[in-house]
């Protein structure tokens, strides 16, 4: 199936980066994780068969790469060796300090969840439907609905007092 790699990256770069910011941790910076996701998308693109939407497929790769980096399974591949063709330019005048602080608190709450709950919550925050989350995880929609209710409750209990 023919997919335009450039368009795919342009369309999905922000959502990939958001997820990478949650999973990143020493020594992996969000930029390193982002680059690894781009690399794995490039490597796996040939095998994309169109069974699910390309966006859902990108989520699968992103979540799998991020979880794998947590487990440190693939030691043969140096992920901190940066590509020169990907540029991250801080948008200093647009960075709202209070938004950054809110995000820091959100990340703090998300990281109190279990690893797999983190995967589900980032998909939920990215506005994926239960059906799409089911495709990414391999669970049933009902199962997702039950789990999401509990995880969301936990997240809101943590974040609400912090932000308000």
């Amino acid at each position: 199936m023919q997919v335009n790699f450039e368009q795919l990256l342009e369309k999905n770069k922000h959502k990939i980066f958001r997820i990478c910011r949650i999973y990143a941790g020493s020594p992996m910076e969000p930029q390193d994780l982002f680059q690894e996701v781009v690399f794995q998308i490039w490597k796996s693109l040939e095998s994309y068969a169109g069974k699910s939407s390309i966006d859902t497929w990108v989520y699968k790769i992103t979540i799998n790469v991020c979880l794998q980096s947590k487990l440190n399974l693939d030691r043969s591949n140096d992920k901190t060796d940066r590509f020169e063709s990907i540029h991250f330019t801080p948008i200093e005048n647009e960075i709202d300090e209070s938004e950054e602080e809110k995000f820091r608190l959100l990340k703090e709450c998300i990281t109190t969840l279990s690893e797999t709950s983190v995967s589900l919550i980032v998909l939920y925050l990215d506005a994926l439907s239960n059906k799409e989350i089911a495709v990414v995880t391999g669970l049933s929609e009902n199962h997702i609905a039950v789990k999401m209710k509990r995880i969301r409750k936990k997240l809101f209990e943590c974040i609400t007092p912090k932000i308000s």
């Binding site: 994309y48 020169e84 063709s85």
Partner: protein, 212 residues
């Protein structure tokens, strides 16, 4: 706090950086990285196989050169063992395919669990398929070494490194026993320290995900 507010925080979190690509250069870098990884894998395979090929050559030469029948038999067994080791490495490569990132999370956990379990079994059973057969063939080889004069055989190079006296034979057997015990210990340690913690993490993550 309301859901839309939370989603706003989330969506704004990627607006701290402008992400740009130089597509042609990126594709070159991606291709270079793929080639680099393939090269590393090829070199590693070559290193593993070349050790066994070297062993086949050495024991092949000794099979041809040495006159002692029991030692000749041991050379034959050693060659068969080296061939088996090459086969075992190739088989393990086929089982140890890299992670498939386009699988669903559940499938990915199952796949990684199966791969890690295979690696653990391979290392744990190394005593039976690697150390023990090698030690037994080495033992037969050493025990079979006789007196070169009885066979009117003379080869200064072979004679200089073969343990032909009883004392040298005993010392060599002890050294080999220690060496193979060490390899068994190293493999078991790799399973306990390296693979089992990972396997447990993968299993627990898979169970966490499946649990309602």
């Amino acid at each position: 706090m309301l859901e839309p507010e939370l989603k706003d925080i989330w969506n704004n979190s990627s607006r701290t950086s402008q992400i740009t690509f130089e597509t042609n250069q990126l594709i070159d870098e991606l291709n270079a990285k793929v080639s680099d990884i393939q090269k590393k894998i090829r070199n590693r395979d070559l290193r593993e196989i070349s050790a066994s090929l070297f062993g086949i050559l050495i024991f092949g030469y000794m099979l041809y050169e040495i006159p002692f029948p029991i030692t000749k038999l041991a050379c034959g067994f050693s060659i068969m063992w080296f061939v088996f080791v090459i086969f075992k490495f190739k088989q393990s490569k086929q089982q140890n395919m890299p992670a498939k990132f386009s699988l669903s999370l559940i499938e990915q956990f199952e796949y990684q669990e199966a791969t890690m379990q295979y690696q653990a079994n391979l290392l744990e059973s190394a005593a039976y398929w690697y150390s023990a057969p090698a030690f037994v063939t080495n033992l037969i080889f050493i025990v079979g070494l006789g007196n070169p004069v009885d066979y009117s055989w003379s080869n200064s190079i072979a004679e200089s490194f073969l343990p032909l006296t009883i004392n040298l034979k005993i010392m060599t057997i002890i050294a080999l026993a220690l060496f193979y015990s060490f390899t068994i210990w190293v493999n078991k340690r790799a399973v306990i320290k390296g693979i089992e913690p990972l396997l447990n993490s993968i299993k627990s993550m898979g169970q966490q995900l499946k649990k309602e």
